[in-house]
């Protein structure tokens, strides 16, 4: 039973991270119907930025908490800037092009960013400093859930709540929903569509960076390639929940996290990634609209 709980909580942690990254996929897809392949790379760049900033600050002798705060903030700022720039360079010129063109461009961007970090930094795994504080009162339960895991789950919940608020109750959120429904109509009703799309990329990238910092300081290792696998898994989560839906991304992330956790715990750890990919293939084939998504009829 304890093993089960351990796996359950492990899945919850994993799932939270997937959900954070999945949000970016889901929001971008909801608005411009593009699988932003480079999104995983944004997450990776977020983690790298945090690592670099944290290392510099450590050498300068900052204390742990301020390092955590400043490094996370920098990660968010830079990741958002990358997201913004990528959209302007690689996707905006292709708004009217066939959908396949934008997708190919996104794949190119993903490969480009991976190798950019590889060349500018290193291909080795870098140790990531343990930035997250330890809570004393959780000490007795450390064998089933560490403080870091608690922080991950709580942060995710907080980000979700903030995002839901943003989308449901703010002007920007309304403009986003309008653009997702019908871009031309939104444009005609005075929504600045370009700005909405930019904001979507910025917000999505920022959440991915939060995910990047959390997972990197939890696992303690990063390299240029972490974005690729994480990206595909998060995409799986987004599709699983129903792409375009924010609660769907969270649900999808959790389901994927638990699937992986239980499958590796009870079946075999060799095939960890195979489970995720298989799940992805199965959903896309049997229920492409996802758990919370609604099926759409193609317009003729």
């Amino acid at each position: 039973m304890e093993y089960f709980i351990e796996l359950f909580l492990g899945g919850l942690t994993r799932g939270s991270i997937y959900a954070l990254i999945a949000l970016g996929y889901t929001m971008v897809y909801g608005i411009i119907e593009l699988i932003n392949f480079a999104h995983g790379e944004i997450y990776m760049i977020g983690a790298f930025t945090a690592l670099i900033v944290a290392s510099v600050l450590t050498l300068l002798g900052f204390n742990e908490l301020s390092i955590l705060v400043i490094a996370s903030l920098c990660a968010v700022i830079w990741a958002a800037s990358y997201g913004f720039t990528i959209e302007k360079l690689a996707y905006k010129p292709l708004r009217k092009a066939p959908r396949l063109s934008a997708l190919i461009s996104a794949i190119g961007m993903s490969i480009f960013l991976q190798n950019y970090v590889l060349l500018a930094q290193t291909s080795d795994f870098l140790p990531f400093p343990a930035l997250m504080p330890e809570f004393g009162f959780l000490e007795p339960y450390a064998h089933i859930m560490s403080s870091a895991e608690v922080i991950i789950v709580l942060t995710t919940a907080l980000v979700m709540a903030a995002l839901t608020f943003l989308i449901k109750f703010t002007r920007l959120g309304k403009a986003m929903r309008a653009t997702a429904q019908d871009r031309d109509m939104a444009l005609l009703s005075g929504v600045n569509v370009n700005r909405v799309i930019s904001f979507t990329f910025i917000i999505g990238s920022a959440t991915a960076a939060i995910g990047g910092v959390l997972i990197a300081s939890h696992i303690g290792m990063i390299n240029f390639y972490i974005g690729f696998i994480a990206g595909i898994k998060a995409f799986t989560a987004a599709v699983l929940g129903g792409i375009g839906s924010v609660p769907g991304a969270v649900l999808g992330g959790m389901v994927l996290g638990w699937t992986e956790s239980f499958a590796t715990g009870y079946v075999s750890s060799d095939y960890e990634d195979v489970f995720a990919f298989t799940l992805l293939v199965l959903i896309l084939i049997f229920r492409p609209e996802g758990i919370l998504g609604r099926s759409t009829t193609q317009k003729v």
Binding site: I52, L59, L94, I104, S105, G108, F112, A120, V281, I285
Partner: protein, 411 residues
């Protein structure tokens, strides 16, 4: 004329990129010695570089928009291939030169060069195969490398366990590739374009992960060594001769591929693929079976990947799962995109440029992958039809008094 406003914009762009790339490009942490390397030179390079590039970018954008307007006005220049084909003497002498060069190549250059050229030729085959799937049928297959792996592993395993020779394995590899294409294609081809891309990517990764983990079957990450080279009536060959031989085998296969693909794309089947790429719904309304047509394209593309895999295994005599990662699929995709989707000469050129350039320009080789990624983006933004765009065939028919202009073969 460069105006002040433009300079101001470029300065802003340059400042933005200096900010953007600052942490990754300038700071490098050495975690073991706990020192930080500050590479200020990179900052200057980025600044100056992005300042200059922003001008080029804007110029290209303007040109592209002007081009679009011209297209709408109907004043389009015919594509290069068509202009060359319109002059039969020129096109014949080009073909003649290429044939002559191809034949004498292995006798003029070192074994090393021949090996590189053979590698490029394998990519030509792969590119032409993927071109059927992406360029003609418009199906973005990101797991193409899986079929390449199927071909390579079927030869390696058949050779290892049963001593099956290259010439028997070659059609078998193609057949197995096709079989896998149909097996994988059947469930996924109902999906929309972008979902199809992701599912094929997933399938590709699953196959690689299985090869990596199923030690009893595939010998895991250590791979299979000592695969036989292609035989020639049982004659023993030195390494040099064998390399040359593989080269000519590949030349033969490439010619065969071009020959078949050209025929296919101008046939009833090929037309259906292109129609499907253009408009799925109209295609069905015209009586074309969507699933079957897609499946044919998928399976045929996989056939060529399977055969290329067999040749690859025979050429390198050693394979392991590391040769079949997603990046390999991305390279093949870049070849097709750079050359021109749906254009045979384009794909050949794309493969030669992308594979040979990094080999010969040593300075390039580190930047190989970043180059591929960049090419995908830049081509899509500025020249989606590729270096050499496809040409539609002009048909001869009864009943039109004069002969149709430029009658003859397709692209």
């Amino acid at each position: 004329m460069i105006t002040f406003a433009e300079i101001k914009r470029s300065v802003l762009v340059s400042l933005w990129f200096m900010f953007l790339t600052f942490p990754i490009m300038v700071v490098r942490v050495n975690p073991i010695e706990e020192v930080i390397e500050w590479r200020w030179r990179n900052l200057i390079i980025i600044g100056v570089g992005s300042f200059a590039i922003s001008f080029v970018w804007r110029y290209m954008m303007e040109r592209k928009e002007a081009g679009l307007k011209r297209k709408e006005a109907g004043g389009e220049k015919p594509p290069l291939v068509k202009r060359i084909m319109d002059r039969p003497r020129l096109s014949r002498s080009i073909v003649g030169l290429v044939v002559a060069f191809v034949c004498v190549f292995p006798f003029l250059f070192s074994t090393y060069q021949v090996t590189i050229m053979s590698t490029a030729l394998i990519y030509v085959m792969l590119g032409l195969g993927l071109n059927i799937v992406i360029g003609l049928a418009g199906l973005l297959d990101l797991g193409y490398v899986a079929f390449y792996a199927v071909g390579a592993y079927s030869y390696a395993l058949l050779n290892f366990h049963f001593g099956v020779g290259f010439w028997i394995a070659l059609p078998l590899g193609g057949l197995l590739g096709a079989l896998f294409g149909i097996l994988l294609g059947f469930p996924v081809l109902r999906l929309r374009g972008d979902y199809l891309a992701i599912v094929t990517l997933g399938f590709g990764e699953i196959i690689r992960l299985i090869l990596e983990n199923w030690n009893d079957f595939s010998f895991g990450p250590s791979g299979i060594a000592g695969i036989s080279r292609p035989g020639f009536f049982g004659i023993d060959m030195s390494l040099n001769t064998a390399t040359t031989y593989v080269y000519f085998v590949l030349i033969g296969l490439v010619i065969l591929t071009v020959f078949f693909v050209n025929r296919l794309q101008n046939s009833r089947i090929g037309r259906a693929w292109i129609a499907l790429r253009e408009d799925e719904i109209a295609c069905q309304a015209m009586g074309i079976d969507k699933t079957r047509t897609k499946l044919t394209a998928f399976a045929l593309g996989a056939t060529w990947a399977g055969m290329a895999g067999v040749v690859f295994a025979a050429k390198t005599t050693f394979i392991n799962p590391a040769s079949f990662t997603f990046l390999e699929s991305a390279i093949i995709l870049s070849i097709v995109v750079l050359g021109g989707m749906g254009s045979i000469p384009g794909v050949i050129l794309g493969a030669l440029v992308l594979i040979l350039l990094p080999e010969y320009l040593r300075a390039f080789s580190d930047y190989r992958m970043i180059l591929f990624g960049g090419i995908l983006v830049l081509m899509m933004v500025f020249r989606p039809q590729g270096l050499i765009s496809g040409v539609r065939r002009v048909y001869q028919f009864k009943g039109n008094g004069e002969k149709a202009p430029n009658g003859g073969s397709g692209s």
